[in-house]
Symmetry: C2
């Protein structure tokens, strides 16, 4: 375990742990991304998305780009949510202009039976990137590690790529729940090992992205997505070298299930923009912190409108008080078409207004 | 106004009006559709989707096909949600395998200023189809008329077609709310006139499909979708020849806003499969009836699983009591890949189990 520089800004970690902060911390999902010209330049050098993600030097470079440009309060490992099934041997690839795909799918009884938790050594490039980024951050802000949720990984593994209707996996779920549960069991174990290895390598918080839990029916969500995130969270190391490692769980489109999510054991819940922050806060009480939830489309408006929407969101959440915590974020990854100066307007507005809210 | 045969099965209308019924009525969104071989045969004769929709004989033929095949409790006009902007001169067209598109968009100040409520005479083919279908039904089941919601029409009018992120219209919404409101005002007036003309032509209930309201942020949904559906509902004729004409409002992905929807004035709310029926019933109380909400993907499973899921949904809603009403449906349109025999299993299960629930 390398020695890392002491953390200079723990606002993000404190908010996740529902401790008082001087202002509301902010970061953006997909903050190291195509909307930044410096990212596009590094991406061109690397040749491909996975060429970036698999090279710790490139991954470090792009992770730090938004930290250098904006006064963000957290950084997030540059990687993909689908590294785990890739390590299972399914062959992750990207076609230009399309989402991630797998060369091989997991659909038949034999394919499910052959599925194994991958050797974490095959994901060493991720852990190397974590250590490299944490070292390069030099204590400026905390580093978030992450993975896709067991259900979200399964969606890609069964469908072979993105899907609008998820017919193949839903047919499996309803017709062969035994196969579905076996895949999810393996995924949960793999995700837990993967996140724990990221924590060992230097991640100071972890986030589980359940991008497709919101496609499930009520009842199916609890049985096939939430329960497996519960298993992951239960296996996570809660401390590293005596420091708490908070966890964040985010089901896009899961606003109806906040009450059940709040009891899973994660420290914070991500929210998309359909959720009313004030109502969500009242619903989860002091069980979890909240993260979110501006519509990324707001960043296409002018700076005045961005400021107004940031203030609305912060006012809706209200002033954090004992036992409550809020991390500002978008409700989804930032769009590649976002003007970079919109992020400046948003981040500054979060910091300014949240300090004023606290009477500073 | 033609004379129509007396209605023989009013179970659907009674449930919408929260009156007692012997069993839970059922119909399917997009029940006249590509999953039926007889539909595909008529579609081939017509040459195109709009060729079907614009010919009252063909529209009547396909509307009655599912009624002839299954013991459904309601029929729905065969048409498209986008006939109104087509009548505004935007040029609706369909490309094979893709969603609807418009030849012209409404984005600039000048384009918005030029927008008008269309002359309802240009939609006469729809009203002719309504009268023709109602006549052909001969009182077997009620006929539902419908339209897209003002916001959903605007999505297609501004984006020019379907969209995943709705960047263009959301940019307009946040940057030029004045333009957005003007489009929505015109759409609301047009939709109200359109639905009232369908009622005049013979529609016995009307449904507003808000397919894309769920893409909006909390706050924006209320201001840009819900408020305009409220305007439509307020202008609807509530009775025709002394008979109540119930209205149904359905925002896909709108489960978080049920409480506000229940006060708009519609008689019933459509629900997608993410909503827990029992909780939704408790939330809306005796303000509105509910319609939904099986995941269409369940129809890819076998008949035993379909029956089990139907029973779960009906049990979740519970036995209808005074002031409550439930219409069974899917949570979205039926998939074109659905085996037709799955619908038999579903409809029979709804009728059987709901009779047993009532102790019949």
């Amino acid at each position: 375990m390398p020695q890392f520089a002491p953390l200079q800004n723990d606002t993000f970690l404190r908010a996740l742990l529902r401790q008082p902060t001087d202002y509301t911390p902010v970061w953006l999902m997909r903050q190291a991304g195509r909307y930044l010209p410096e990212y596009r330049a590094t991406r061109a050098k690397a040749g491909s998305f996975m060429g970036l993600a698999k090279n710790p030097d490139f991954a470090t470079e792009v992770t730090l780009q938004p930290i250098d440009r904006y006064p963000l309060d957290a950084s997030i490992l540059f990687s993909d949510i689908l590294t785990v099934p890739d390590a299972m041997g399914l062959g992750l690839y990207f076609e230009d202009g399309e989402g991630p795909k797998f060369e091989r799918t997991v659909r038949t009884e034999a394919e499910v039976a052959a599925l194994r938790v991958p050797d974490m050594a095959s994901l060493q490039y991720v852990f190397d990137a974590v250590t490299s980024i944490r070292t390069a951050l030099n204590g400026r802000v905390p580093l978030i590690g992450f993975s896709g949720s067991p259900w979200t990984l399964a969606c890609y593994m069964v469908e072979g790529g993105g899907s609008r209707e998820f017919h193949t996996i839903k047919k499996m779920l309803y017709s062969r729940p035994d196969l579905m549960h076996r895949i999810l069991d393996i995924n949960a174990e793999a995700v837990a090992q993967y996140l724990n290895a990221q924590i060992d390598a230097g991640a100071q918080a972890v986030m589980i992205f359940d991008s497709w839990g919101g496609a499930l029916a009520d009842g199916a969500y609890q049985a096939f997505s939430l329960d497996y995130m519960r298993k992951v969270v239960a296996k996570l190391q809660r401390e590293k070298d005596g420091v708490r490692i908070p966890s964040i769980m985010f089901t896009k489109g899961g606003g109806l299930w906040l009450d059940e999510m709040a009891d899973v054991g994660a420290d914070a819940l991500g929210l998309d923009w359909t959720v009313n922050l004030g109502r969500a806060r009242a619903q989860v009480g002091d069980r979890v912190a909240l993260q979110g939830n501006l519509d990324p489309a707001i960043l296409f408006a002018g700076p005045d409108q961005i400021r107004a929407e940031v203030e609305k969101a912060l006012a809706s959440y209200g002033t954090p008080s004992a036992g409550h915590g809020h991390v500002f974020n978008l409700g989804h990854g930032i769009s590649q078409f976002t003007p970079p100066e919109s992020v400046t307007a948003m981040v500054d507005a979060v910091h300014d207004f949240s300090r004023r809210q606290r009477g500073a």
